[in-house]
């Protein structure tokens, strides 16, 4: 029996709450939001209220974060599994590749990947990737190295447990050990890693969109903040930036709390 810590429950509730709020306010009933928004119209888009843009952006940012976080976690898990199953020189080579990717600054590489993807799309070779798909793929391509390193280290630790040694002594192969013994112990950690990737992906997307390099449409929180720059400078309108900032902070708070609590909790065997 395992107990989910209160901090994780709080973080997950906050995340789910923000997701539901963005769905309801940003997608299902935007008219109700538009008519009741106390923050007024956006100076750079006079046809939309600040609330519509903030909650619409929250929906897009959340979708990008969830998709990119899931994809990078999956790639990291696959690389770590292949590394541990292969062992020896293959594992060392994969780890050096992980180090190389990990050492690169996310924002710069995502910018270059966006440039490459947009050029492919302009030339009709985009493979059906729209701005959303391109951003998710770019974030996953730079974001898998951290999870791969964490999963590899966790697998290495789990393999030294007595029950795994016993299973191996009884003739269990690598794939069997991974599927039957290691994966169940790894699942809560995988959820924690996924939740830790969520804010990283959202913040990287926000920064790249803010620079005006990503063509995210409908606008994410980052692109919305990027387009609000002129309004803020010339109208002194903190009201334009503060709601989107608050939503971004709440997203990261939820994901960080849940991730930290889940990765720190020792799980007792059933």
């Amino acid at each position: 029996m395992s107990r989910v810590p209160p901090r994780a429950i709080f973080g997950l509730t906050l995340l789910v709450g923000l997701g539901v709020l963005s769905l309801v306010a940003g997608r299902l009933f935007p008219e109700a939001l538009a008519s009741t928004c106390p923050l007024g119209m956006d100076p750079t888009r006079p046809d939309r209220t600040v609330c519509e843009l903030a909650f619409g952006g929250l929906w897009v940012s959340l979708a990008v974060g969830l998709a990119a976080g899931a994809l990078s976690t999956f790639i990291g898990l696959a690389v770590a599994a292949v590394a541990r199953l292969s062992g020896g020189a293959v594992e060392q080579a994969l780890l050096r590749g992980v180090d190389a990717v990990f050492a690169l600054p996310d924002v710069l590489v995502v910018m270059v990947l966006q440039l490459a993807g947009q050029s492919l799309a302009d030339a009709g070779q985009g493979g059906g990737f729209g701005p959303f798909g391109l951003m998710v793929a770019s974030l996953a391509l730079v974001g898998w190295a951290g999870p791969a390193r964490m999963f590899r280290n966790r697998l290495f630790t789990l393999e030294s447990q007595e029950y795994v040694a016993a299973a191996r002594a009884l003739g269990g192969g690598g794939a069997h050990l991974l599927r039957v013994h290691l994966w169940p112990a790894l699942r809560p950690f995988a959820l924690a890693v996924f939740l830790s990737r969520l804010p990283a992906a959202i913040l990287t997307e926000s920064t790249v969109s803010f620079f005006g390099i990503a063509r995210m449409e409908p606008m994410s929180l980052g692109r919305y903040l990027g387009t609000s720059y002129a309004a803020l400078i010339y109208e002194g309108g903190g009201r334009v930036v503060l709601p989107a900032w608050a939503l971004l902070v709440l997203l990261v708070l939820g994901a960080s709390l849940a991730s930290q609590a889940l990765s720190a909790t020792p799980r007792r065997a059933a």
Partner: protein
């Protein structure tokens, strides 16, 4: 020593890997001129890209570097940049990063002390909330909020403000890490033993605890250096500082592919230099690193 040499070699090999990878990624960009779509490049520009990158030539991947070392402009127009200008702009960004470093250390120390104090009282939740607010705030948001007050003024104020907003996230990150590490070490038996033998708290901290906290701090230097430099890009953009971040973003937006190749590699080289310095420092400060296996 062999282990350290291996680590150094691993770091150094990153530079040519980044150079070659970024070159071939740029060279693979389709620069067709078959349609008249708005974003397509003209025939002349496409030919210029091909020349800049040496596409289709033997050892063509060395072309951007040849131009750089000959002192020629990289890029396809008068907006291209020479190696000297690149270094000047990079030094501007590094300067902002260096101003941000002591600020980050001050944030770290302050937050680590506050967190230790909060942990014992009813403000404990703030120990989690403050990092979440700091991590959830991209550099450009405080920069945007400060910008109206500082962009029109000179006297290094934009640089200082850029350093200030860049330092917050790395500072809180370092503070969390050092605070946790400090707390773990302070609860260990050797601290109780040293105090029990009559040593003062300051002596125990300086002689016994801090040497065990250094490795955690050094582990964080890599990500912190990356975030200080990459964070300064966003701040430079908002405060209108004409340094490396501005150059990089404009090069990407204007598809100055040779500039992107050289700038990416230069940035990676800078990060490798930071890693090498950290490895050397670790070797000097942490005896365990000299015994560690690869």
């Amino acid at each position: 020593m062999r282990v350290v040499t291996q680590r150094l070699a691993r770091q150094l090999i990153l530079v040519p890997v980044v150079a070659v990878a970024s070159y071939f990624l740029m060279a693979a960009l389709p620069l067709t001129t078959e349609t008249d779509a708005k974003r397509q490049v003209s025939k002349e520009l496409a030919a210029s890209y091909q020349r800049d990158l040496g596409i289709g030539e033997p050892l063509g991947f060395l072309r951007p570097w040849e131009k750089l070392f000959r002192g020629e402009r990289l890029g396809t127009s008068a907006q291209g940049i020479t190696g000297d200008e690149l270094l000047l702009k990079l030094s501007g960004s590094v300067g902002v990063g260096l101003m941000a470093l002591p600020l980050a250390l001050a944030w770290a120390l302050g937050f680590a002390l506050l967190r230790t104090t909060w942990r014992r009282g009813r403000w404990a939740a703030l120990g989690d909330a403050v990092p979440a607010v700091a991590f959830g705030t991209p550099v450009f948001i405080p920069a945007l909020l400060l910008a109206p007050a500082v962009v029109e003024r000179g006297h290094m104020l934009p640089e200082l403000c850029a350093a200030l907003v860049t330092s917050v996230w790395p500072g809180i990150f370092l503070g969390t890490l050092v605070g946790d590490s400090l707390e773990t070490e302070l609860s260990r038996d050797y601290v109780r033993t040293a105090l029990g033998k009559g040593l003062s708290r300051g002596t125990v901290l300086r002689r016994h605890v801090l040497p065990n906290v250094w490795p955690a701090l050094l582990d964080a230097v890599g990500p912190v250096a990356t975030s200080l430099l990459a964070g300064s890009f966003a701040a430079e953009r908002v405060f209108g500082l004409p340094y490396f971040g501005q150059l990089y973003v404009l090069a990407v937006l204007n598809k100055q592919v040779a500039v992107v190749v050289v700038a990416t590699t230069t940035f990676a080289s800078l990060l490798v230099l930071v890693s090498l310095a950290v490895e050397a420092l670790r070797y000097a400060l942490d005896p365990r690193s000299r015994e560690a296996t690869a």
